[in-house]
Protein backbone atom coordinates (compact mmCIF):
# COMPACT_ATOMS: atom_id res chain seq x y z
CA UNK A 1 0.00 0.00 0.00
CA UNK A 2 1.48 3.29 -0.95
CA UNK A 3 -1.33 5.35 0.47
CA UNK A 4 -2.50 6.57 -2.92
CA UNK A 5 -5.69 5.48 -4.49
CA UNK A 6 -7.61 6.33 -7.62
CA UNK A 7 -10.82 5.73 -5.80
CA UNK A 8 -12.59 8.53 -4.03
CA UNK A 9 -12.93 6.70 -0.77
CA UNK A 10 -9.97 4.60 0.14
CA UNK A 11 -11.23 2.75 3.19
CA UNK A 12 -13.34 -0.06 1.70
CA UNK A 13 -11.01 -0.43 -1.23
CA UNK A 14 -8.13 -1.45 0.91
CA UNK A 15 -9.92 -4.70 1.60
CA UNK A 16 -10.39 -5.25 -2.10
CA UNK A 17 -6.84 -4.40 -2.99
CA UNK A 18 -5.61 -7.15 -0.75
CA UNK A 19 -8.15 -9.56 -2.13
CA UNK A 20 -7.19 -8.96 -5.75
CA UNK A 21 -3.54 -8.28 -6.07
CA UNK A 22 -3.39 -7.66 -9.83
CA UNK A 23 -6.09 -5.11 -9.81
CA UNK A 24 -4.45 -3.43 -6.83
CA UNK A 25 -1.26 -2.95 -8.77
CA UNK A 26 -3.16 -1.51 -11.72
CA UNK A 27 -4.99 0.87 -9.43
CA UNK A 28 -1.74 2.01 -7.92
CA UNK A 29 -0.41 2.74 -11.38
CA UNK A 30 -3.49 4.83 -12.11
CA UNK A 31 -3.07 6.63 -8.81
CA UNK A 32 0.51 7.51 -9.64
CA UNK A 33 -0.58 8.76 -13.04
CA UNK A 34 -3.31 10.88 -11.46
CA UNK A 35 -0.80 12.35 -8.98
CA UNK A 36 1.56 13.27 -11.78
CA UNK A 37 -1.29 14.81 -13.76
CA UNK A 38 -2.35 16.88 -10.74
CA UNK A 39 1.13 18.22 -10.14
CA UNK A 40 1.73 18.88 -13.82
CA UNK A 41 -1.50 20.80 -14.26
CA UNK A 42 -0.95 22.73 -11.04
CA UNK A 43 2.46 23.84 -12.27
CA UNK A 44 0.95 25.05 -15.54
CA UNK A 45 -1.70 26.96 -13.60
CA UNK A 46 0.96 28.54 -11.36
CA UNK A 47 3.24 29.57 -14.21
CA UNK A 48 1.55 32.90 -14.99
CA UNK A 49 1.80 33.99 -11.35
CA UNK A 50 5.39 32.84 -11.00
CA UNK A 51 6.49 34.51 -14.20
CA UNK A 52 4.77 37.78 -13.47
CA UNK A 53 6.48 37.76 -10.08
CA UNK A 54 9.83 37.16 -11.73
CA UNK A 55 9.21 39.79 -14.37
CA UNK A 56 8.38 42.32 -11.67
CA UNK A 57 11.77 41.92 -9.98
CA UNK A 58 13.90 41.93 -13.13
CA UNK A 59 15.51 45.08 -14.46
CA UNK A 60 13.15 46.81 -16.87
CA UNK A 61 13.59 46.10 -20.54
CA UNK A 62 15.78 43.05 -20.11
CA UNK A 63 14.76 40.19 -22.39
CA UNK A 64 13.57 37.15 -20.53
CA UNK A 65 16.33 34.94 -21.93
CA UNK A 66 19.15 37.15 -20.61
CA UNK A 67 21.11 36.44 -17.48
CA UNK A 68 23.23 33.96 -15.63
CA UNK A 69 20.29 31.98 -14.35
CA UNK A 70 17.22 31.52 -16.48
CA UNK A 71 15.73 34.69 -15.07
CA UNK A 72 18.12 37.52 -15.58
CA UNK A 73 21.20 38.85 -13.95
CA UNK A 74 20.04 41.03 -11.10
CA UNK A 75 16.94 41.27 -9.02
CA UNK A 76 15.48 44.63 -8.18
CA UNK A 77 12.52 46.22 -6.49
CA UNK A 78 12.71 49.43 -8.51
CA UNK A 79 9.80 48.35 -10.69
CA UNK A 80 7.53 48.48 -7.67
CA UNK A 81 8.74 51.96 -6.87
CA UNK A 82 8.12 53.06 -10.44
CA UNK A 83 4.68 51.43 -10.49
CA UNK A 84 3.73 53.20 -7.27
CA UNK A 85 4.87 56.50 -8.70
CA UNK A 86 2.81 56.48 -11.90
CA UNK A 87 -0.67 56.30 -10.36
CA UNK A 88 -2.36 57.55 -7.17
CA UNK A 89 -2.50 54.04 -5.68
CA UNK A 90 -3.30 55.42 -2.24
CA UNK A 91 -6.56 56.84 -3.55
CA UNK A 92 -7.27 53.71 -5.53
CA UNK A 93 -6.77 51.56 -2.43
CA UNK A 94 -8.99 53.82 -0.34
CA UNK A 95 -11.70 53.80 -3.00
CA UNK A 96 -11.59 50.05 -3.41
CA UNK A 97 -11.81 49.57 0.37
CA UNK A 98 -14.72 51.99 0.69
CA UNK A 99 -16.44 50.40 -2.30
CA UNK A 100 -16.02 46.86 -1.02
CA UNK A 101 -16.74 47.48 2.66
CA UNK A 102 -19.50 50.02 2.07
CA UNK A 103 -21.25 47.64 -0.30
CA UNK A 104 -20.94 44.70 2.06
CA UNK A 105 -22.08 46.60 5.15
CA UNK A 106 -25.33 47.72 3.56
CA UNK A 107 -25.84 44.34 1.91
CA UNK A 108 -25.60 42.52 5.24
CA UNK A 109 -28.36 44.75 6.56
CA UNK A 110 -30.67 44.42 3.55
CA UNK A 111 -30.24 40.68 2.99
CA UNK A 112 -30.75 39.87 6.67
CA UNK A 113 -34.09 41.64 6.77
CA UNK A 114 -35.31 40.36 3.41
CA UNK A 115 -33.91 36.89 4.02
CA UNK A 116 -35.81 36.59 7.27
CA UNK A 117 -39.04 37.96 5.83
CA UNK A 118 -38.95 35.52 2.94
CA UNK A 119 -37.90 32.62 5.16
CA UNK A 120 -40.17 32.92 8.15
CA UNK A 121 -42.95 35.44 7.61
CA UNK A 122 -46.30 34.96 5.93
CA UNK A 123 -47.68 37.81 3.92
CA UNK A 124 -49.75 38.38 0.83
CA UNK A 125 -47.73 38.45 -2.39
CA UNK A 126 -44.70 36.76 -0.90
CA UNK A 127 -44.10 34.51 -3.91
CA UNK A 128 -44.50 37.30 -6.44
CA UNK A 129 -42.19 39.61 -4.53
CA UNK A 130 -39.59 36.87 -4.19
CA UNK A 131 -39.68 36.29 -7.94
CA UNK A 132 -39.28 40.02 -8.55
CA UNK A 133 -36.18 40.02 -6.36
CA UNK A 134 -34.84 36.89 -8.05
CA UNK A 135 -35.09 38.61 -11.43
CA UNK A 136 -31.90 40.34 -10.35
CA UNK A 137 -30.15 36.99 -10.76
CA UNK A 138 -31.67 36.47 -14.19
CA UNK A 139 -30.79 39.90 -15.55
CA UNK A 140 -27.06 40.30 -15.15
CA UNK A 141 -25.73 43.78 -14.30
CA UNK A 142 -23.62 43.99 -17.44
CA UNK A 143 -26.77 44.12 -19.53
CA UNK A 144 -27.99 47.12 -17.55
CA UNK A 145 -24.74 49.06 -17.87
CA UNK A 146 -26.22 51.53 -20.35
CA UNK A 147 -29.36 52.36 -18.39
CA UNK A 148 -27.80 52.32 -14.93
CA UNK A 149 -25.21 54.77 -16.17
CA UNK A 150 -28.11 57.05 -17.16
CA UNK A 151 -29.78 56.54 -13.76
CA UNK A 152 -26.59 57.48 -11.92
CA UNK A 153 -26.35 60.68 -13.96
CA UNK A 154 -29.99 61.52 -13.24
CA UNK A 155 -29.40 60.97 -9.53
CA UNK A 156 -26.48 63.40 -9.74
CA UNK A 157 -24.08 60.75 -8.47
CA UNK A 158 -21.80 60.56 -11.49
CA UNK A 159 -18.13 60.52 -10.49
CA UNK A 160 -18.78 59.73 -6.81
CA UNK A 161 -18.07 56.65 -4.72
CA UNK A 162 -21.81 56.34 -4.07
CA UNK A 163 -22.26 55.53 -7.74
CA UNK A 164 -19.97 52.53 -7.37
CA UNK A 165 -21.88 51.02 -4.46
CA UNK A 166 -25.51 51.94 -4.98
CA UNK A 167 -26.59 49.27 -7.49
CA UNK A 168 -25.18 46.51 -5.29
CA UNK A 169 -26.88 47.42 -2.05
CA UNK A 170 -29.64 44.92 -2.60
CA UNK A 171 -28.54 41.42 -3.41
CA UNK A 172 -30.89 38.73 -4.64
CA UNK A 173 -28.09 36.22 -4.23
CA UNK A 174 -27.56 37.19 -0.59
CA UNK A 175 -31.29 37.24 0.10
CA UNK A 176 -31.64 33.75 -1.31
CA UNK A 177 -28.58 32.50 0.57
CA UNK A 178 -29.80 33.79 3.93
CA UNK A 179 -33.39 32.75 3.32
CA UNK A 180 -32.07 29.23 2.88
CA UNK A 181 -29.88 29.45 5.97
CA UNK A 182 -32.62 30.95 8.13
CA UNK A 183 -35.04 28.20 7.13
CA UNK A 184 -32.67 25.64 8.54
CA UNK A 185 -32.67 27.26 11.95
CA UNK A 186 -35.05 25.22 14.16
CA UNK A 187 -38.26 27.18 14.55
CA UNK A 188 -38.55 26.01 18.15
CA UNK A 189 -35.70 28.35 19.08
CA UNK A 190 -37.67 31.33 17.83
CA UNK A 191 -40.83 30.14 19.55
CA UNK A 192 -39.05 29.68 22.85
CA UNK A 193 -37.57 33.15 22.61
CA UNK A 194 -40.97 34.62 21.80
CA UNK A 195 -42.46 32.96 24.87
CA UNK A 196 -39.66 34.59 26.87
CA UNK A 197 -40.86 37.88 25.47
CA UNK A 198 -38.10 38.55 22.95
CA UNK A 199 -38.91 40.94 20.11
CA UNK A 200 -38.01 40.43 16.48
CA UNK A 201 -34.77 42.40 16.74
CA UNK A 202 -33.54 40.20 19.58
CA UNK A 203 -34.62 37.05 17.80
CA UNK A 204 -32.78 38.07 14.65
CA UNK A 205 -29.56 39.14 16.30
CA UNK A 206 -29.44 36.59 19.13
CA UNK A 207 -30.64 33.51 17.27
CA UNK A 208 -30.67 33.74 13.49
CA UNK A 209 -27.58 35.80 12.79
CA UNK A 210 -25.24 33.91 15.18
CA UNK A 211 -26.44 30.54 13.91
CA UNK A 212 -25.91 31.53 10.30
CA UNK A 213 -22.42 33.01 10.58
CA UNK A 214 -21.00 30.55 8.00
CA UNK A 215 -23.51 31.83 5.46
CA UNK A 216 -22.57 35.41 6.25
CA UNK A 217 -18.90 34.60 5.84
CA UNK A 218 -19.62 32.89 2.54
CA UNK A 219 -21.58 35.87 1.36
CA UNK A 220 -18.92 38.32 2.56
CA UNK A 221 -16.09 36.52 0.79
CA UNK A 222 -18.03 36.32 -2.45
CA UNK A 223 -19.16 39.92 -2.25
CA UNK A 224 -15.69 41.23 -1.41
CA UNK A 225 -13.91 39.27 -4.10
CA UNK A 226 -16.38 40.16 -6.82
CA UNK A 227 -16.46 43.88 -6.08
CA UNK A 228 -12.71 44.09 -5.53
CA UNK A 229 -12.36 42.92 -9.10
CA UNK A 230 -14.93 45.07 -10.77
CA UNK A 231 -13.79 47.19 -13.69
CA UNK A 232 -16.48 48.11 -16.24
CA UNK A 233 -18.96 49.72 -13.86
CA UNK A 234 -16.38 51.96 -12.12
CA UNK A 235 -14.94 52.83 -15.51
CA UNK A 236 -18.36 53.97 -16.70
CA UNK A 237 -19.57 55.95 -13.67
CA UNK A 238 -16.39 57.67 -12.52
CA UNK A 239 -13.85 60.00 -14.05
CA UNK A 240 -11.64 61.37 -11.25
CA UNK A 241 -8.67 59.32 -10.11
CA UNK A 242 -9.59 59.75 -6.42
CA UNK A 243 -12.88 57.89 -6.73
CA UNK A 244 -11.66 55.17 -9.03
CA UNK A 245 -10.75 51.73 -7.64
CA UNK A 246 -7.56 49.72 -8.06
CA UNK A 247 -8.75 47.88 -11.14
CA UNK A 248 -9.25 51.14 -13.01
CA UNK A 249 -5.77 52.26 -11.96
CA UNK A 250 -4.32 49.05 -13.30
CA UNK A 251 -6.31 49.40 -16.49
CA UNK A 252 -4.95 52.89 -16.99
CA UNK A 253 -1.42 51.75 -16.31
CA UNK A 254 -1.90 49.13 -18.93
CA UNK A 255 -3.36 51.40 -21.55
CA UNK A 256 -0.98 54.31 -21.14
CA UNK A 257 1.24 54.23 -24.17
CA UNK A 258 4.55 54.93 -22.42
CA UNK A 259 4.00 52.18 -19.86
CA UNK A 260 2.02 49.82 -22.10
CA UNK A 261 5.00 47.78 -23.23
CA UNK A 262 7.00 48.05 -19.99
CA UNK A 263 6.09 44.64 -18.64
CA UNK A 264 8.34 44.84 -15.59
CA UNK A 265 6.39 47.87 -14.48
CA UNK A 266 3.07 46.35 -15.45
CA UNK A 267 3.66 43.13 -13.58
CA UNK A 268 4.72 45.05 -10.47
CA UNK A 269 1.51 47.09 -10.71
CA UNK A 270 -0.59 43.99 -11.29
CA UNK A 271 0.89 42.26 -8.27
CA UNK A 272 0.28 45.34 -6.10
CA UNK A 273 -3.38 45.16 -7.04
CA UNK A 274 -3.93 41.42 -6.68
CA UNK A 275 -1.72 40.85 -3.63
CA UNK A 276 -4.30 41.67 -0.94
CA UNK A 277 -6.84 39.21 -2.32
CA UNK A 278 -4.29 36.47 -2.86
CA UNK A 279 -2.97 36.92 0.68
CA UNK A 280 -6.53 36.96 2.05
CA UNK A 281 -7.22 33.77 0.18
CA UNK A 282 -4.04 32.07 1.37
CA UNK A 283 -4.88 32.97 4.95
CA UNK A 284 -8.46 31.75 4.79
CA UNK A 285 -8.18 29.14 2.09
CA UNK A 286 -10.33 26.49 3.72
CA UNK A 287 -12.96 29.01 4.71
CA UNK A 288 -12.96 30.51 1.24
CA UNK A 289 -13.45 27.22 -0.49
CA UNK A 290 -16.09 25.98 1.90
CA UNK A 291 -17.91 29.28 1.56
CA UNK A 292 -17.88 29.31 -2.20
CA UNK A 293 -18.91 25.69 -2.33
CA UNK A 294 -21.72 25.80 0.21
CA UNK A 295 -23.17 28.96 -1.27
CA UNK A 296 -24.06 27.43 -4.60
CA UNK A 297 -25.54 24.13 -3.70
CA UNK A 298 -28.75 23.03 -1.98
Amino acid sequence: MNGHNTNLHPQPLRIRLMARGDEGASRRRWALLADMLTVGLALIWLLPLVFSLLMSVRPAGEPISTGSIFFGSTLTLTNYGRALAVAPWGWHYITTLIFVIGTLAVQVFTVTLAGYAFARMRFAGRQVLLILVLLQLMIPPGVLLVQNFATIRELGLYDTRWALMLPYWSSAFGTLLLRQAFREVPYELEEAARIDGAGLGRILFRIYVPLCIPSYIAFALISISSHWNELLWPLVVTRSEEVRPLTVGLNKLFNTSDTGADYSLLMAGTLLVIAPLVVLFMAFQRRFIESFASSGLK
Binding site: L8, P63, T151, P167, A293, S294
Partner: protein
Amino acid sequence: MTQTARPLLTRLLPYLMILPTLLGVTIFTLLPATRTVIDSTYKPPRMARGEAEYVGLQNYADLFDPAHYIGARFGRVLTNTVVFAAGTVLVSVPLGLGLALLLNRRIRARGLWRFSFFYPSLLPLIGAASIWAFLYSNTVGLTNTVLRSLGLPGVDWLGNPDQVLFSIIVVDIWKQAGYHMIFFLAGLQNIPRDIYEAADLDGASGWQLLRFITLPLLRRTLLFVLVIALTFAFQTVEQLSALGQGNPGDRGNLLLYFVFQNIGERRNWGYTNAMSVILAGILLIFTLSNFFLFERRREDERA
Protein backbone atom coordinates in the same frame (compact mmCIF):
# COMPACT_ATOMS: atom_id res chain seq x y z
CA MET B 1 -54.32 35.25 16.39
CA THR B 2 -56.18 36.00 13.18
CA GLN B 3 -54.92 38.21 10.36
CA THR B 4 -57.31 41.07 11.12
CA ALA B 5 -56.59 41.12 14.81
CA ARG B 6 -52.89 41.79 14.23
CA PRO B 7 -51.90 45.43 14.58
CA LEU B 8 -51.20 47.29 11.37
CA LEU B 9 -47.50 47.57 11.99
CA THR B 10 -47.14 43.83 12.45
CA ARG B 11 -48.89 43.27 9.16
CA LEU B 12 -46.73 45.82 7.39
CA LEU B 13 -43.53 44.56 8.96
CA PRO B 14 -42.63 41.95 6.31
CA TYR B 15 -43.06 44.53 3.57
CA LEU B 16 -40.90 47.02 5.43
CA MET B 17 -38.23 44.36 5.83
CA ILE B 18 -38.04 43.59 2.14
CA LEU B 19 -38.46 47.22 1.11
CA PRO B 20 -34.74 48.13 0.92
CA THR B 21 -34.02 45.08 -1.23
CA LEU B 22 -37.05 45.61 -3.40
CA LEU B 23 -36.23 49.29 -3.85
CA GLY B 24 -32.71 48.48 -5.04
CA VAL B 25 -33.94 45.75 -7.36
CA THR B 26 -36.57 48.07 -8.79
CA ILE B 27 -34.27 51.03 -9.39
CA PHE B 28 -31.24 49.15 -10.64
CA THR B 29 -32.76 46.06 -12.27
CA LEU B 30 -36.47 46.15 -13.05
CA LEU B 31 -36.82 49.75 -14.24
CA PRO B 32 -33.61 49.82 -16.27
CA ALA B 33 -34.47 46.44 -17.78
CA THR B 34 -37.84 47.79 -18.87
CA ARG B 35 -36.27 50.98 -20.16
CA THR B 36 -33.68 48.99 -22.07
CA VAL B 37 -36.47 47.21 -23.94
CA ILE B 38 -38.34 50.46 -24.60
CA ASP B 39 -35.27 52.44 -25.66
CA SER B 40 -34.28 49.67 -28.02
CA THR B 41 -37.27 50.62 -30.18
CA TYR B 42 -36.24 54.28 -30.53
CA LYS B 43 -33.78 56.09 -32.73
CA PRO B 44 -31.83 58.60 -30.66
CA PRO B 45 -32.22 62.29 -31.54
CA ARG B 46 -29.61 63.81 -33.82
CA MET B 47 -29.22 66.81 -31.56
CA ALA B 48 -28.70 66.70 -27.80
CA ARG B 49 -32.12 68.23 -27.12
CA GLY B 50 -34.05 66.60 -29.95
CA GLU B 51 -36.90 64.11 -29.76
CA ALA B 52 -36.24 60.39 -29.98
CA GLU B 53 -38.08 58.73 -32.83
CA TYR B 54 -40.02 55.49 -32.43
CA VAL B 55 -38.76 52.99 -35.00
CA GLY B 56 -40.23 49.69 -33.83
CA LEU B 57 -37.81 46.86 -34.42
CA GLN B 58 -35.67 48.80 -36.89
CA ASN B 59 -32.68 48.85 -34.51
CA TYR B 60 -32.75 45.07 -34.36
CA ALA B 61 -33.10 44.87 -38.13
CA ASP B 62 -30.06 47.14 -38.50
CA LEU B 63 -28.06 44.98 -36.10
CA PHE B 64 -28.74 41.89 -38.20
CA ASP B 65 -28.18 43.69 -41.50
CA PRO B 66 -24.62 42.93 -42.62
CA ALA B 67 -24.69 45.92 -44.98
CA HIS B 68 -25.39 48.37 -42.15
CA TYR B 69 -22.43 49.98 -40.41
CA ILE B 70 -23.45 48.59 -37.01
CA GLY B 71 -24.75 45.29 -38.37
CA ALA B 72 -21.44 44.50 -40.02
CA ARG B 73 -19.68 44.77 -36.68
CA PHE B 74 -22.46 43.28 -34.54
CA GLY B 75 -22.63 40.06 -36.55
CA ARG B 76 -18.95 39.42 -36.06
CA VAL B 77 -19.03 40.32 -32.38
CA LEU B 78 -22.06 38.10 -31.72
CA THR B 79 -20.43 35.15 -33.47
CA ASN B 80 -17.26 35.72 -31.44
CA THR B 81 -19.27 35.80 -28.24
CA VAL B 82 -21.00 32.50 -28.98
CA VAL B 83 -17.70 30.86 -29.94
CA PHE B 84 -16.06 32.29 -26.84
CA ALA B 85 -18.83 31.05 -24.53
CA ALA B 86 -18.93 27.61 -26.12
CA GLY B 87 -15.15 27.31 -26.12
CA THR B 88 -14.67 28.33 -22.52
CA VAL B 89 -17.62 26.45 -21.06
CA LEU B 90 -17.03 23.21 -22.98
CA VAL B 91 -13.45 23.10 -21.78
CA SER B 92 -13.51 24.74 -18.36
CA VAL B 93 -16.49 22.85 -16.92
CA PRO B 94 -15.23 19.32 -17.75
CA LEU B 95 -11.78 20.48 -16.70
CA GLY B 96 -13.19 21.71 -13.40
CA LEU B 97 -14.81 18.33 -12.89
CA GLY B 98 -11.57 16.57 -13.76
CA LEU B 99 -9.59 18.73 -11.35
CA ALA B 100 -12.14 18.02 -8.61
CA LEU B 101 -11.83 14.28 -9.21
CA LEU B 102 -8.05 14.56 -9.10
CA LEU B 103 -8.08 16.53 -5.86
CA ASN B 104 -10.80 14.51 -4.17
CA ARG B 105 -8.29 11.73 -3.58
CA ARG B 106 -5.58 11.12 -1.07
CA ILE B 107 -2.80 13.34 -2.24
CA ARG B 108 -0.02 15.14 -0.48
CA ALA B 109 -0.05 18.94 -0.22
CA ARG B 110 -3.63 19.09 -1.40
CA GLY B 111 -3.94 22.70 -0.23
CA LEU B 112 -1.15 23.75 -2.55
CA TRP B 113 -2.73 22.13 -5.60
CA ARG B 114 -6.11 23.52 -4.71
CA PHE B 115 -4.59 26.98 -4.40
CA SER B 116 -2.88 26.60 -7.77
CA PHE B 117 -6.15 25.95 -9.54
CA PHE B 118 -8.36 28.30 -7.60
CA TYR B 119 -6.28 31.48 -7.29
CA PRO B 120 -6.89 32.64 -10.89
CA SER B 121 -10.60 32.94 -10.23
CA LEU B 122 -9.91 35.41 -7.43
CA LEU B 123 -7.89 37.74 -9.60
CA PRO B 124 -9.51 40.76 -11.17
CA LEU B 125 -10.03 40.06 -14.86
CA ILE B 126 -7.89 43.02 -15.73
CA GLY B 127 -5.11 41.68 -13.50
CA ALA B 128 -5.31 38.21 -14.99
CA ALA B 129 -5.41 39.73 -18.44
CA SER B 130 -2.37 41.91 -17.90
CA ILE B 131 -0.39 38.88 -16.75
CA TRP B 132 -1.44 37.03 -19.90
CA ALA B 133 -0.74 40.02 -22.07
CA PHE B 134 2.83 39.71 -20.83
CA LEU B 135 2.88 35.96 -21.49
CA TYR B 136 1.50 36.61 -24.97
CA SER B 137 3.64 39.62 -25.85
CA ASN B 138 5.70 39.26 -28.98
CA THR B 139 8.96 40.67 -27.72
CA VAL B 140 9.43 39.73 -24.07
CA GLY B 141 6.58 37.25 -23.71
CA LEU B 142 7.15 33.87 -22.17
CA THR B 143 5.30 31.76 -24.74
CA ASN B 144 7.20 33.15 -27.69
CA THR B 145 10.52 33.03 -25.87
CA VAL B 146 9.95 29.35 -25.20
CA LEU B 147 8.75 28.68 -28.75
CA ARG B 148 11.76 30.44 -30.25
CA SER B 149 14.21 28.68 -27.96
CA LEU B 150 12.77 25.44 -29.30
CA GLY B 151 13.44 26.70 -32.81
CA LEU B 152 9.75 27.22 -33.55
CA PRO B 153 8.27 30.39 -35.00
CA GLY B 154 6.63 32.73 -32.50
CA VAL B 155 2.86 33.19 -32.49
CA ASP B 156 1.21 36.59 -32.75
CA TRP B 157 -1.28 35.72 -30.02
CA LEU B 158 -3.21 38.96 -29.96
CA GLY B 159 -2.33 40.46 -33.35
CA ASN B 160 -3.31 37.63 -35.64
CA PRO B 161 -7.04 37.87 -36.46
CA ASP B 162 -7.37 34.09 -36.60
CA GLN B 163 -5.59 33.63 -33.30
CA VAL B 164 -6.87 36.32 -30.98
CA LEU B 165 -10.18 34.71 -29.95
CA PHE B 166 -8.42 31.46 -29.13
CA SER B 167 -5.91 33.35 -26.99
CA ILE B 168 -8.74 35.02 -25.06
CA ILE B 169 -10.51 31.69 -24.57
CA VAL B 170 -7.34 30.17 -23.10
CA VAL B 171 -7.15 32.93 -20.50
CA ASP B 172 -10.76 32.39 -19.51
CA ILE B 173 -10.34 28.62 -19.19
CA TRP B 174 -7.30 29.18 -16.99
CA LYS B 175 -9.28 31.60 -14.87
CA GLN B 176 -12.57 29.70 -14.52
CA ALA B 177 -11.69 26.00 -14.29
CA GLY B 178 -10.63 26.23 -10.65
CA TYR B 179 -13.79 28.08 -9.74
CA HIS B 180 -15.92 25.31 -11.22
CA MET B 181 -13.71 22.78 -9.46
CA ILE B 182 -14.81 24.14 -6.08
CA PHE B 183 -18.45 23.32 -6.76
CA PHE B 184 -17.64 19.85 -8.03
CA LEU B 185 -15.49 19.20 -4.97
CA ALA B 186 -18.40 20.14 -2.75
CA GLY B 187 -20.73 17.97 -4.81
CA LEU B 188 -18.36 15.03 -4.53
CA GLN B 189 -18.18 15.42 -0.79
CA ASN B 190 -21.96 15.33 -0.56
CA ILE B 191 -22.14 11.87 -2.09
CA PRO B 192 -22.64 9.34 0.71
CA ARG B 193 -19.72 6.99 1.05
CA ASP B 194 -21.78 3.86 1.58
CA ILE B 195 -22.98 4.03 -2.04
CA TYR B 196 -19.39 3.52 -3.13
CA GLU B 197 -18.85 0.82 -0.57
CA ALA B 198 -21.87 -1.10 -1.82
CA ALA B 199 -20.89 -0.74 -5.47
CA ASP B 200 -17.37 -1.68 -4.63
CA LEU B 201 -18.45 -4.88 -2.95
CA ASP B 202 -20.41 -5.67 -6.10
CA GLY B 203 -17.13 -5.48 -7.95
CA ALA B 204 -17.67 -2.24 -9.86
CA SER B 205 -14.56 -0.89 -11.56
CA GLY B 206 -13.25 2.61 -11.00
CA TRP B 207 -14.66 3.69 -14.34
CA GLN B 208 -18.05 2.20 -13.52
CA LEU B 209 -18.11 4.01 -10.19
CA LEU B 210 -17.45 7.25 -12.01
CA ARG B 211 -19.90 6.59 -14.83
CA PHE B 212 -22.83 5.16 -12.88
CA ILE B 213 -22.52 6.74 -9.45
CA THR B 214 -20.40 9.87 -9.35
CA LEU B 215 -21.53 11.53 -12.57
CA PRO B 216 -25.30 10.90 -12.14
CA LEU B 217 -25.16 12.13 -8.56
CA LEU B 218 -23.27 15.23 -9.67
CA ARG B 219 -25.93 16.18 -12.19
CA ARG B 220 -27.43 18.92 -10.06
CA THR B 221 -23.99 20.35 -9.47
CA LEU B 222 -23.29 20.10 -13.17
CA LEU B 223 -26.49 21.97 -14.00
CA PHE B 224 -25.60 24.68 -11.55
CA VAL B 225 -22.04 24.99 -12.81
CA LEU B 226 -23.13 25.03 -16.45
CA VAL B 227 -25.59 27.81 -15.80
CA ILE B 228 -23.14 30.01 -13.96
CA ALA B 229 -20.39 29.19 -16.44
CA LEU B 230 -22.54 30.25 -19.39
CA THR B 231 -23.77 33.36 -17.62
CA PHE B 232 -20.19 34.27 -16.74
CA ALA B 233 -18.92 33.56 -20.24
CA PHE B 234 -21.35 36.00 -21.81
CA GLN B 235 -20.44 38.67 -19.30
CA THR B 236 -16.70 38.34 -18.82
CA VAL B 237 -15.28 40.97 -21.09
CA GLU B 238 -13.12 43.16 -18.85
CA GLN B 239 -10.02 41.18 -19.79
CA LEU B 240 -10.33 42.57 -23.32
CA SER B 241 -9.19 45.92 -22.01
CA ALA B 242 -5.70 44.42 -21.71
CA LEU B 243 -6.01 41.77 -24.39
CA GLY B 244 -6.37 43.69 -27.61
CA GLN B 245 -9.51 45.73 -26.86
CA GLY B 246 -11.46 43.84 -29.48
CA ASN B 247 -8.78 44.25 -32.13
CA PRO B 248 -7.78 43.38 -34.74
CA GLY B 249 -10.93 44.48 -36.55
CA ASP B 250 -13.39 43.18 -33.93
CA ARG B 251 -12.03 39.66 -34.40
CA GLY B 252 -11.24 39.62 -30.68
CA ASN B 253 -14.31 41.54 -29.57
CA LEU B 254 -17.16 40.32 -27.39
CA LEU B 255 -20.73 41.56 -27.16
CA LEU B 256 -20.73 43.25 -23.78
CA TYR B 257 -17.39 44.92 -24.46
CA PHE B 258 -18.77 46.18 -27.76
CA VAL B 259 -21.74 47.65 -25.88
CA PHE B 260 -19.31 49.25 -23.42
CA GLN B 261 -17.28 50.72 -26.27
CA ASN B 262 -20.39 52.36 -27.69
CA ILE B 263 -21.89 53.55 -24.44
CA GLY B 264 -20.81 57.15 -24.89
CA GLU B 265 -22.00 57.49 -28.49
CA ARG B 266 -25.43 59.04 -28.66
CA ARG B 267 -26.12 57.92 -32.23
CA ASN B 268 -25.73 54.30 -31.11
CA TRP B 269 -27.96 54.61 -28.03
CA GLY B 270 -30.78 52.58 -29.63
CA TYR B 271 -28.31 49.96 -30.75
CA THR B 272 -26.60 49.57 -27.38
CA ASN B 273 -30.01 49.04 -25.80
CA ALA B 274 -31.05 46.55 -28.48
CA MET B 275 -27.78 44.70 -28.00
CA SER B 276 -28.36 44.61 -24.24
CA VAL B 277 -31.79 43.10 -24.83
CA ILE B 278 -30.30 40.47 -27.12
CA LEU B 279 -27.64 39.63 -24.55
CA ALA B 280 -30.24 39.37 -21.78
CA GLY B 281 -32.39 37.19 -24.04
CA ILE B 282 -29.53 34.80 -24.71
CA LEU B 283 -28.77 34.51 -21.02
CA LEU B 284 -32.41 33.95 -20.16
CA ILE B 285 -32.78 31.21 -22.78
CA PHE B 286 -29.73 29.41 -21.38
CA THR B 287 -30.90 29.65 -17.81
CA LEU B 288 -34.45 28.54 -18.51
CA SER B 289 -33.77 25.79 -21.04
CA ASN B 290 -31.05 24.33 -18.88
CA PHE B 291 -33.35 24.40 -15.90
CA PHE B 292 -36.29 22.76 -17.66
CA LEU B 293 -34.11 20.19 -19.37
CA PHE B 294 -32.68 18.96 -16.11
CA GLU B 295 -35.88 19.23 -14.11
CA ARG B 296 -37.84 17.21 -16.66
CA ARG B 297 -35.23 14.51 -16.85
CA ARG B 298 -35.30 14.07 -13.13
CA GLU B 299 -39.06 13.70 -13.13
CA ASP B 300 -38.83 11.06 -15.85
CA GLU B 301 -36.55 9.03 -13.68
CA ARG B 302 -38.86 9.24 -10.76
CA ALA B 303 -41.83 7.98 -12.79
